[in-house]
Structure formats: C-alpha cells, structure tokens
Symmetry: C2
Subunit: 253 residues, 2 copies
C-alpha cells in the first residue's frame, strides 16, 4: 500500500438526550461528515448516546482505538448536564484540569458579559494534556485530547471549530463522487448497477430511491478516490441506462 | 419495582453510506425517536454504520441484546448495496428465506408496474422465522425478526411502517417533558438548574442554549414519567428564574 492509498478514518459520538428524545434534529452528523470528506478522512461510524458517563465512555473507548480520529459533539457547556469532558478524561485515564489559556480566553470573553463565574469556568476544564480548538463565536473553546476532538453541540459553534481545524489533520485521498439520476424504479436497473460496479474495481455505486411529483426515481452515487475510474464508471452507467431506454440525468435529480 | 415503573428501551441502527458521506441528512433518527417516545419506549442509543456486513452485524448484535427492541433503517431495497436482511440474519444465526406472503404482496404490487423480477423478489427475503411489517406506500414490507425491526431508508416509507406498528409494542410510562425558555446565558443560571434538578428527584433538566436575533437564550427541558413531579419542577424553575430577575417563557422559545 503506498502512502497515498492509506485510508484515514474518523468516528463521531453525538452526546445528547435531546437527539434521542426526538426533540432536536441533529445537524452535526451531516456537517462533520461533509467536512471530513474534504479533509480526505472517511467517517466510518456515528454513535448517538445519552448524557450519561458510562455510555459516553464506552462509545469513546470503542471508537477512538479503531479510528485515526474521534469527534464528539455536545456536552461541553457550563451546565450540570455537560459531562463530556469528564467522560473523555475518564476514558483516556487522565484527570480533568483547568486549561490556563482557556481560562484566560473565558475571562476576556466574559469581561463585558457579567464576568467569569464558576459555571463559566467549567468550560475551561479539559482532560490533562489537551490542546484547545479556537471558537470565535462564543468564547468557550473546543478541545483536542489525544486523537479525540470535543466540539460543541450547537451546530453553528461546531462549524466555527471545524473551520479552525481545516487543513490541520492528516488525511488521505478524498473520496470523490459522481451522481447519475434517473426517473426509474431502482428495481428495474438493479442488474445494471451490480454489473457496472463489478466491472469497475475501485468504485462503489449506491442507489438512493425517492418518490417525487408522483413518480419513482433514484440517484445513483458512484464513489472512488480516482477521478478517471469515477468518470469511466459514470460513463458506463450512463450508457447502460440509455441501452435500457432510460434517460440518465448527470449530476442527479 | 412495580410493573408500571419498568423502563422499556430501544436502539436504532441507521445503515447508510449516504449518511456517513454527508450527502444525505438523516431524518429517521428524529422520527423513530419521537415515535418511540409515544409508545413509552426510550431510545437509548443510535449507531450509523456503512453498507458493510461486518459493521451492521456488530452493531445489531451489540444493541439487540441490551435493549428490548432494536430498529434498523436502510438497506432493505432491491439493489446490490441493500444488505441489511443478510446482515441481520447472520447476526441472528438464521438463514435468509423468501417469505411467501411478501412474495405475494410484491407480485400483486408489481402486477401493473412491469412485473416481479429477481431484483424485486430480493425484497421478499427475510431472516427465517420473521414476520412482516406492512408498507402501504410502496409494496415491499418491513420485517420483524425477533426483537429486531427492519425499516426502510426512505423516511416516508419508514413513517408508514411505524404507523403500522403503533400500539403493538409493549412499553412503559411515556417520558413526559415540559420546556421553560429564557433569554439568558445558560452559564448565568447553571446553579439554579443543578439545584432545581437535585431538589426534584425523578426529574432531569436539560439545558439547550441558542443564539437568535443576536441574543443568547436557552430552553430548559424537564423530563419525568410523573406529571405532578414535572409540574412541580417546572414551577420551581419558573420561580427561580423570576427570583434572578429573568423572565421564564413557558413552553420554550
């Protein structure tokens, strides 16, 4: 395996009772996934767990070992239900300490906002040895502890933190994709999809059916790290659909 | 523990490369979560895994044992990337068989839609011994195999399948919730939240901050299975906010 063909992987732990209750629709999975793709890192698994020490620790320990990177979202705020820092520290076997730079950042941020109080100081707590991830939006930083990246639960803040990390993580070849749409029932072209994938090693084809405007259709998403392979596979799929008297829609529907 | 205080739990495995790539925003987590809440069943964990046999099997086996119910979404369609039935069968240690009723349903459904072909017949495959979950929208049924419920990836179809299951699963007391909103930084009221929760055993308070209209605010969500406890806790939180010269917004912001 050459250097460039090494696949870098990540996992994500979404901490939040509010997601599991159905009250809040998660937005972090999609944004972290898309961001990782641009970094050349594949998101391999996501776990959504409650605000519960044992559940967070189990997920963090299962996933940090078998992936290059582990991200968490949620549970790093100032209130009693924010326990992700404690859980990650316990998972890593290190104590929780006040990070002096985080304390200074929070002191400055809250200077004109009522001052630093004990709850706000909680947001300077990190697993010992951790580094900070800047947060230009609301002061309290994200945290990098080993290969674990602790991000906010509020999607807009996590977006800022990801922005600050852009280009800093080692990744591999980005997974490229091409989409071919078609107004066809996927079950009519299942053989074509399977055979086209088989004939193009290094490409995967996913089939995503939908119902719109009273009609069935599907988008076929081809993924590969090699642009030439991707183009060849997409062209073959186009031709195959035309041969079945179906009209491919490049770029998807 | 009395019969009524037994807590029923569920987990969800979302099967889908398209979620992990960031291409598709998942909608099934929130809809399954909300539906389970109404059934008196708590969603304890969600895992999003790729279209990969080993990954699906691992998640199914980890979660089906420690929960009363396990749901899966995705991967039960007609194409080569639909492997959830095979993975669940392997996890359960049973072969995959054609379900005769499913075959008949599909034969009837496709009678006016080009006929049953081998790809479409794939959607009649079930783990041996499984029952069917009706799908009024697109023919192909969901599947109940032991305590594992296999649902579609397309959210509208899963909604139909959940509808068909409504009232059929044993659950416990539904988890009730009350929301109190406030235009306040959660870090200013962290002590109040912690102390109010501590003073009301059987209630949990979650704090969900937001930034809107250029201002910080938060919704405090109180959860309990007991309406009287919930009301008392919400009233105490209201009073506590007023005592801090903050204005609670019943129902949330």
């Amino acid at each position: 395996m050459t250097q460039t063909s090494r696949i870098w992987t990540a996992a994500l732990v979404v901490v939040g009772d509010e997601i599991l209750s159905g009250r809040t629709h998660d937005k972090n999975i999609a944004q972290v996934a898309a961001w990782l793709g641009v970094q050349g890192i594949r998101l391999r698994e996501v776990r959504v767990v409650p605000d519960d020490m044992a559940a967070i620790i189990e997920a963090v320990n299962a996933l940090r070992v078998r992936n290059d990177y582990l991200f968490t979202t949620g549970g790093i705020g100032p209130t009693h239900d924010d326990i992700t820092v404690d859980a990650v520290a316990e998972a890593l076997g290190v104590p929780v300490v006040i990070h002096p730079v985080a304390e200074q950042v929070l002191t400055d941020y809250y200077a004109t906002r009522g001052g630093l109080n004990p709850a706000r100081l909680r947001m300077a707590r990190v697993p010992e040895g951790a580094d900070l991830i800047p947060n230009r939006l609301s002061g309290a930083p994200g945290i990098k502890a080993g290969n674990v990246f602790l991000m906010a639960g509020v999607p807009g803040i996590t977006a800022q933190m990801l922005d600050g990390l852009t280009g800093t993580l080692e990744g591999g070849l980005p997974l490229l994709s091409a989409t071919v749409g078609c107004w066809v029932a996927e079950s009519e072209v299942a053989d074509l999809l399977r055979e086209t994938e088989k004939a193009h090693e290094g490409c995967q084809i996913g089939s995503y059916p939908f119902f719109r405007e009273g009609k069935v259709g599907a988008n076929f998403v081809i993924r590969s790290t090699d642009q030439a392979l991707l183009d060849a596979c997409a062209a073959a799929l186009d031709e195959g659909l035309v041969a079945l008297n179906r009209f491919p829609v490049p770029g998807g529907i």
